[in-house]
Structure formats: C-alpha cells, structure tokens
C-alpha cells in the first residue's frame, strides 16, 4: 500500500465502523435478553400455591415486628 493512499484507509475505517455497530447491536440484544430472563427474584421456582397463604402471611407478620424493618415507612 502506498503512503497517503486515503482510499485504502477509508475502506478499512468503514469496515471497522460496521463491525463496531454490529458488535454493539449484538451486545444490546444480549443485554435485553438477560434483563428479560433476570426479572425473577428467585428464578426457577414456581409461585407458592394458595394453600400456603396462611403461613406466608404469618411469617411476614413476624418479620415485620423485627427491629429496623421500617414500620413507619410504606411499601411502594
């Protein structure tokens, strides 16, 4: 390649830009997929059946009486 051959440099730069755009797009898609499947706090476990409602309520009631549980704050 000759010194100062601007066309060659331009082609190489364009290719790099395209690669950068494609890589960025792939990363964005992967991030979106990750965020979609990562929403669950306890992934892989089904929701507790209604028959457990009474005991989960009882457990929550106890935890709410423990200190530093923010009794004066309201859940959002």
């Amino acid at each position: 390649m000759r010194t100062g051959d601007s066309t060659s440099f331009g082609e190489r730069g364009g290719r790099r830009r395209r690669i950068a755009i494609v890589v960025t797009a792939i990363l964005l898609v992967l991030t979106a997929v990750w965020c979609y499947f990562d929403r669950d706090i306890y992934p892989g476990y089904p929701a507790a059946p209604a028959s457990f409602e009474a005991i989960t309520r009882e457990h929550l009631r106890t935890e709410s009486t423990l200190p530093l549980n923010g009794r004066s704050v309201r859940a959002r």
Binding site: Y42, Y45, A48, A54, I55, T56, L66, P67, S72, A75
Partner: protein, 240 residues
Amino acid sequence: MKNRLPIAFAALLLLGALVCPKPPGPSRIDPHRCFEHAFRAEAGPDSATSRRMRELIERNYTFSISGEDVVAGRKAWVLGIRPKIKQRPWRQLWIDRKTFQILALRDWSHAGKLKRSAKSPAVRPELVEGLGAASDKQSAAKARCGRVRAPGYVPPGFELAEVRASAEHEWSRIVYSDGLYAISLFQRFPDRLSWEHKHAIAVYDWGGGLLLSTFCAGRQVAVLADLPRHELERIAASIR
C-alpha cells in the same frame, strides 16, 4: 526563577489543601453509631428483647455509610447493613440525619436482587410492639404444643425467637431470627387438610424468599426464609 517554580507550585497545592473545605463525604458519621441511634429510634425503650435483637444484628451484620440522600424532604444517611456470612439477605436504610428514624429501605435477597423497596411519605414516629419477651412466650407456647420438634441444624447466626401453636390452623411453629430476618418452621401432622406434596420435597417462591415443603419425621414440614435452597433442605432434614 526556574528553581522557584516547583516550590511555588508546592506552596499553591498546600494552600489549596488548607483553604478548600472538605467535601461533604459520608464518612462524617460512624456507621455503627448511626445504626445504634436508628435502632433506638425504631425499637423504642430499652428492654431485654431489644437488647438481644441488637446483639444479634451486631453479631451477624456489618455497617457502612454509603452516602447521603434526601427522602421525603429530609436529609438522610444511607446505611448498609450487610451480612458477615455469604448468601444472606441484606438491607439498606435511609436514616433521618436529625431524628435517626428510618425514612426508606431496600431489601436485597440472598441472591443479591432487590425484593422490597419502601419509602416514608412523611416523618411520623410510630412504635409497634416487637416479638416481645420471647423467652416467656416460648415457655407458655411449649406447654401448649409439646409435640413441636426443633431442627438439629439452624444456619449460623440465627437464634430461637418464638415457639407457637395455632389450634385454628392446626400447626405449630418455631421462629429463628438473626436480628433482621426470620426463619419460620411450620409443622403439622397429616390430616385431611394436607399441604401440597406429602412425600416429596417441593420448593416454591412465595415473594419474600423460598418455601420448602416436605414430609419428614412423621409430620408435614414447611420452612420459610430468604435463604438458598440447600440451607432450607438441611434445616428440614435435621428434624428428628
């Protein structure tokens, strides 16, 4: 002239360090002091139970001030209460800088995901009765439900907080606490109103943690806590 330039530069730096005010960093309050004040503001008058809970929290958690914030128009410290043992839930508290009341909180699960966010709409002092005198309640409850069996294994840091029997729901219950969170162990003898999965182990997500349901030592057992599955299994398996 050339020799004086570095000296002048050094003098300027020194002057700047002396004159410039310190940035309002979060390191101005000791995290442990912040916790103590917040605990007192929340737990109310000093009692045997509150002292025990405070000791449990201090034993199981470390405190750090991660910054400052404004909640409900009030300046607040952001206090992080992190467990000393890995894979445990932890809490962030927004503490009022003047009254040390809790203005907001965030609960993070044992896997490090946000599970609860709460914020005070306004500052209002409110005290609710806590677990109470656990030892008195325990002895009375034990007398009512002699068939309760304690597990041989409880995760480190957790201590017995309450034993209770419910005639209405026909179960007995043991509660362990590490000061901030609880493990509930429900036991019931098989009857018509059986829970799910009589003989197999089933693990569910109940919103605030995991629920393990199984059948062992001739009784139905349900363990609730925000702990990894293997910890719940170990607790249930240790009931003899």
